[in-house]
């Protein structure tokens, strides 16, 4: 299967959160000088902590960009329900939301990151996670707004 836009960006060296956020913005015609750098610290589950996968964080940012609130008094939009659906479906597809559970590796040290990079995990796990996140978030954002 042809790699999707986020997977192509990942293959050029963007990490998961950057790749998904930038790909969604390109697809939706959103140009911003803060994209993708706002996602730079989320690689390897927040800079190697192994928590939430960067592809998930990038997707949740993209949902916020489209459906988020500018001012605190604005009515609660459907960002939260879209995010919940996104997380549930990502988890169904990939099995987990957390980097360390998805990869089975410990990215908290330079040696851990090196071991991961020289394993098949980036291709077997990370690239599918990035592709899945992008496809899901595009589907959810393409859906007509509720209400």
């Amino acid at each position: 299967m042809e790699p999707n836009r986020a997977q192509q960006l990942a293959a050029r060296g963007y990490h998961s959160g950057e790749a998904v956020l930038l790909a969604v913005c390109q697809e939706l015609g959103i140009e911003s000088e803060i994209v993708p750098r706002i996602a730079s610290g989320f690689g390897y589950g927040i800079s190697g902590r192994g928590t939430v996968c960067g592809a998930v964080v990038g997707s949740v940012m993209a949902i916020g960009l489209r459906h988020g609130r500018e001012e605190p008094w604005q009515q609660r939009d459907n960002a939260h329900s879209l995010v919940q659906e996104f997380c549930q479906r990502f988890e169904e597809e990939m099995g987990h939301l957390y980097c360390r559970d998805l990869t089975g590796m410990d990215p908290s040290t330079p040696e851990g990151i090196e071991a991961q990079m020289s394993s098949d995990v980036p291709t077997r796990v990370c690239l599918p996670a990035i592709g899945t996140a992008f496809d899901l978030v595009m589907e959810l954002l393409g859906r007509p707004r509720e209400g």
């Binding site: 750098r37 996602a39 927040i46 902590r49 500018e70 939260h80 995010v83």
Partner: protein, 151 residues
């Protein structure tokens, strides 16, 4: 103690991720139409799921804004190192990075969120987390680079 800028925004109704991100951007003079809405769904740990605290996510976004990469060939080691240090210090101060461990509550249901709002947790825990995140991230972002090693 006087509430810091992020805590003041939280008191106006901004959720944790938005409050910290917006406060840092105001402090640094960064204006962008994506801020703070890009952080909207990081409340209660990603859409109420209870994982990483929104104020941590907002802080790591702010670090990326200042030290992240726009092109894949740029280095983002500095963003990584700062985000790691941020997480370590936030954890030392607050005991955890995780919403459900910090709050001891389940924010995934409307009932859970109502119970949270009517408890003392927003003030006792969330406001403190927001204030801590803002202070730590501002210190890290503004810290000058160490002088290059002379060898």
């Amino acid at each position: 103690m006087e509430p810091n800028r992020a805590q003041q925004l939280a008191a106006q109704g901004y959720s944790s991720g938005r409050a910290v991100l917006l406060a840092v951007c105001q402090e640094l003079g960064i204006e962008n139409e994506a801020i703070p809405k890009i952080a909207t769904a990081f409340a209660g740990g990603i859409g109420g799921r209870g994982d990483v605290c929104g104020s941590v996510v907002g802080s790591v976004m702010a670090i990326g804004l200042r030290h992240g990469q726009q092109e894949p060939w740029q280095q983002c080691d500095k963003a990584y190192a700062l985000a790691q240090e941020f997480c370590r210090r936030f954890e030392q101060e607050m005991g955890s990075l995780c919403c459900r461990e910090l709050t001891g509550m389940d924010l995934s249901t409307p009932e859970g969120r109502k119970a949270h709002m009517s408890s003392d947790v927003p003030i006792r825990v969330c406001l403190r987390a927001i204030g801590t995140a803002f202070d730590v991230v501002m210190e890290l972002i503004e810290r000058p680079d160490p002088p290059a090693a002379d060898d």
